[in-house]
Subunit: 233 residues, 4 copies
DNA sequence: AATGAATGAGTTTTCATTCAT
DNA sequence: CATGAATGAAAACTCATTCAT
């Protein structure tokens, strides 16, 4: 009845987009294949022409998210741009990406929830996605430290916090649309880079006898000359 | 046959704990009432003596999480303690709370995912929980600013970032147990208060000799012991 | 709604019997689980309390048939009965068994059809059932030959014919209820034992130059003394 | 794209042969139109250009089998040949026919199973086929009795046994390819004509120098070469 | 109170058949 | 004629919930 479809992968994309919209609206668990088909304007059975199963659809949604994430990480390699600037761009584009496709954000949380419970392997390997995410940010932070813009001793833990701040803000926005997403990227950057302390007041309120916090040196004087070359060791 | 139950609410708690364990293991979507019953060591039908429905079980898990969160927010009202320190305690106890009940933390993501899609009643009002969470943190930040420890002009957006950093770190730990949860609380505080710039003091938070919440070691497998020193580029 | 069932395996038997009735009426392929449930007077889902899947039901039907067959084979071991007599009983009871449960006969054909197409193994191993069937008959034939009632040189091929005659008659009765099943057992025995030739006329119409038929000796004289002892070697 | 089909009925035959091959391999119940199309090397929809439905395909397979059977029955009318010999030829050609088209034989069982359950039209009237089959054999038996080769009083029941022996042997061969089909025709004739008693002549059928049907060797794997000599009890 | 058999609505998935190209 | 995407009516199977015991 419906006219014959020309492009197989175009149809696949259409269905996937429809699926993501429905996932965002109802969540994975509450989404039936029929809902996806209805959203795509096709018959239930037709979904199976493009996806072999419901799980296949989930995996594709994951892949799409991973793909978008990879796009964001592209900002880490811009040439001739200070690492701090690249980090700012990265944060901004991460937020912008998801703000552009709010559905993906909603799906993201579902993926977090679904990412567990399948020890198998490939399809929903959120751990790897975030590992790479953190790795990229950590690399940027170390570069920036090398360039003198950030203090030395920065590594994975700090990257975890930066990545966490981004994702955590997105989650809050998701839970509560009243949270202003616009501007949050800059706030994240501002807070993470400059902290919240009174300006210039580098006064640690107290020493650190046995704190588990991994900080090697305290107050290492201001401005350590800005090296701009490629992530010099 | 089984001896009569002593306490109704004790039984309810037992079942809820069993449910949370199973939710954490399999996710809410994949958890059947029978799984919960088996975990609790009772018969399927008996679950309904304590909970009116499957969703009621999820709502109860939410309530437990909300309860724990309320406990964490108690730190904001300590008398005679600088706001900055109260904030530090808040962050630490938030992380410690979830590290203490990893199952509940895992369920948290399911709750995020389930929190939407039920406009009718509001058994899972995650928005309100996080609104209060942010409000408390924002209040603390403003107090600290008033005490001169933080720069002025700090408000909700910054609170969103702080809260986001906490939750975002937890999510990463959930996705990937190799992420070292221990120490992340202090890293969050350190990053958020002092920032990462080279001109900011990498001040660790004050050690808390009598921390109100026992920061149990989460023993997150390998990688838990982090490399200090500048992890050279 | 329905009263609680006391005996698990009794219920299983009930369902299996209902299933066999429906299989007989409609055939495997055309039988839906719901049909079986309706025949058993229970709800669709209740079938799954006793059988894990539709295939499990098929396997059980097969097992029941195999069980009945085993019962028939019991006649081969009667003590103090000439092998020829035991053979007669075997044939009669094989026919009687299926005439008693016409449903099973119909199912049998479905099993023949289903027995193929699953190289796997166990559940529908019709080959083994018939191998044993033939083996038992062949043993009986050899015994009878040893007792002097049948001519020597009789073996598996003849057993195949005897078994085939039984099954083939049943199939014809199945295809066409007008075929008189009663009496067929004796006809089978009569034909197979005495042949159809003119009485006593042992006149072979022609010699056997290179016929592939495995006959070692021709016309070995009449009556070789009847040994009645237990299957003497 | 493909060159225009020369002959409608040739195409129909091609598809039917493909269908029979697939039916034999998977059974009718498990065979999808697409499987048949694939086996025939055409597109799914094209099957419908030659057959009106899936059932039509089965009916056509039945028709082919009925056609082959009719061919076999042709042996009953040979002029100037003793009825006993015509019977022998009939049995031999029945077996040879099916051995020649093993796929069709395998489908036969499916047809037995499917022959029931469709009272409406009568596309699969197995009853009639076997009725005619029996009738022809019975006629032959009576003729042979008239010619003095068989004892008098022989009729339908005996014909049922003879036909049954043939079909029953074929079924056993289908269930278990180790059953030696070659030679079974002669064993059937031998057993049915002379019986197995020691006072019966174990007369093999007359060798047929110019057998009308080429008894191709079915080469049924191991066990095909049977052990002659009395396999002692 | 506790149990677990029974229920049946709800979902996924398959596949015969149609028909626009 | 040939094709294969599209359709939607089945059918298997699941599982929350009920309720007789």
């Amino acid at each position: 009845m419906a006219p014959k479809r020309v492009d197989r992968s175009a149809r696949r994309e259409e269905i996937l987009s429809a699926a993501v919209r429905v996932f965002a609206r109802q969540g994975f668990a509450a989404t039936r294949i029929e809902d996806v088909a209805a959203e795509a304007g096709i018959a239930k059975g037709s979904v199976y022409l493009s996806f072999s199963s419901r799980d296949d659809l989930l995996a594709a949604a994951f892949a799409r998210l991973a793909d978008r994430s990879a796009g964001v990480l592209g900002h880490t390699t811009a040439e001739g741009v200070p690492a701090v600037e690249r980090l700012t761009r990265l944060v901004r584009s991460a937020v912008a990406m998801l703000a552009d496709e709010p559905e993906l954000t909603r799906v993201m949380v579902d993926l977090w929830a679904a990412g567990r419970h399948r020890g198998d392997a490939a399809p929903l390997d959120m751990a790897t996605v975030y590992r790479e995410y953190r790795g990229a940010v950590a690399g940027l932070l170390r570069e920036a430290a090398g360039e003198g813009d950030l203090r030395p001793g920065i590594g994975e833990p700090e990257a975890t916090v930066v990545v966490g701040a981004i994702e955590g803000c997105l989650v809050q926005w998701l839970m509560d649309p009243a949270v202003p997403l616009a501007g949050l990227a800059d706030t994240v950057v501002g807070v993470c880079l400059s902290g919240l302390r009174s300006d210039g007041a580098a006064s640690p309120p107290c020493p650190l006898p046995a704190a588990p916090v991994p900080v090697t040196d305290t107050g290492n004087g201001p401005g350590a000359g800005r090296t701009q070359g490629p992530s010099g060791a």
